[in-house]
């Protein structure tokens, strides 16, 4: 086991992007079990300057957040996101999988050209499966890159998700009597959302 721990330690150190257990197993000698070694390795790095973190299905070594001040030289300037882009991103993260029409309904304005484009290009969102509603609209979901960037293990760990769900703010609540309001023209309802997906 110590040897397997060394192997995954080396692989994770060498990679800048998260690796999943399948990838690791493929590179390790036959019969190795990265999953168990990961548990040990994670423990070993607890409280250290570098930690083993889970990112979606993958694993990665990342410096401890409290030491960020030492790394000012390594800071990468990310493109400044517009308010529209930030809100769109948050809506996708909390409501995923979500259609364009749903995003527009929540924000009350149409999603501007380029906003989705930018988020796709940053690889923070991707296309999810189509919704089984009329027109079968495409949906958006967040990526592993998004989780990695914001230090989230999974979309379930989004801050405040539980409270929002409890308050019913993630419900897809149709307007009463179908009396539409501006911007709600094409509404699709009732697909399983963040809500159901994350019901354990």
């Amino acid at each position: 086991m110590a040897e397997q721990e060394r192997m995954i330690e080396a692989m994770l150190f060498a990679s800048a992007t998260p690796l999943d257990t399948r990838e690791m197993a493929a590179r390790m000698p036959h019969g190795c079990d990265p999953a168990e070694a990961l548990v040990h390795l994670r423990k070993r790095y607890e409280g250290r300057g570098v930690n083993l973190v889970k990112v979606g299905d993958g694993w990665a070594m990342r410096t401890a957040p409290d030491l960020g001040y030492l790394m000012r030289r390594e800071v990468v300037e990310t493109r400044k996101l517009s308010r529209a882009a930030i809100e769109t991103l948050a809506i996708i993260a909390y409501h995923q999988p979500v259609t364009r029409a749903e995003i527009e309904e929540i924000r009350g304005v149409s999603v501007s050209r380029g906003t989705v484009d930018q988020l796709l290009e940053m690889e923070w969102i991707r296309f999810g499966r189509r919704k089984m509603t009329p027109g079968r609209p495409v949906t958006f979901v967040v990526t592993e890159g998004f989780l990695d960037h914001f230090g989230l293990e999974s979309a379930r760990d989004l801050p405040g998700l539980k409270e929002l769900r409890a308050a019913g703010l993630l419900d897809n609540r149709p307007p009463p009597g179908g009396l539409g309001q501006p911007g709600e023209g094409d509404e699709d309802e009732g697909a399983p959302g963040q809500n159901e997906l994350f019901e354990d």
Binding site: A14, M71, A90, R107
Partner: protein
Amino acid sequence: MAENDFDDGARPVPLAERRAAEALIVDVDGFEGPLDLLLTLSRTQKVDLRRISVLHLAQQYLAFVERAKALRLELAADYLVMAAWLAFLKSRLLLPPDPTEEGPSGEELAAHLAFQLERLQAMRDCAARLMGRDRLGRDFFARGLPEDVTRRRETRYTATLLDLMQAYARIRTRDEFRPFVMDRDAIFTMEQALERLRGLIGFAGAWTDIVSYLPEGFSGDPARRRSATASTFAAALELVKEGSAELRQSGIFAPLELRRKD
């Protein structure tokens, strides 16, 4: 949920509030749509969004739109649509419910609007919390020197989903743009005219107006007629030049006549 607030807005408005309202109007471009504006207006009520007075809010919004119109600001259609909807909502909230009327009650509509505002606010808060998190490349870092020991070099071709979709869009739009290529249908080229004249002139021993040589479908539409006339004329000159035809005109603007030359 909406308190019935029969205030007509006639009460004197405190200075600070007036200033705030004016700031809103001047800054109309700064709003991301009617819902955003409503949310901003609702903040002046300083209450839980669930307990907000939708009626009061509707009045504020309508007053805003009125004043913006007075200032001759261009208001986007969706602001006006929202205004119309809020005016409708206001009437529903003010009038006693009509039992024969179908559809949702004013209270239900108001509750939904309050829900939308609360949800939008919640998403804004989430966005702020998200952006305030420790972030990769700013607060925590990946390996600065990933070890890609280049011992066995293997070329791997890659492409992103964006590349794929753009490539497809490129091909397909090239297809879709074919109609524009068809604009050239209105053009009858000289080569075409020459070919047509060569074929026809063999049968025309007598003087014939060159206009009668215009191809089918090119005499109606002026643009097409112009193009065909010009190219047929040019083709006729070409035939004369090579000695296979004669051209004559009896006077200025008189018909041009063409005849085969043996």
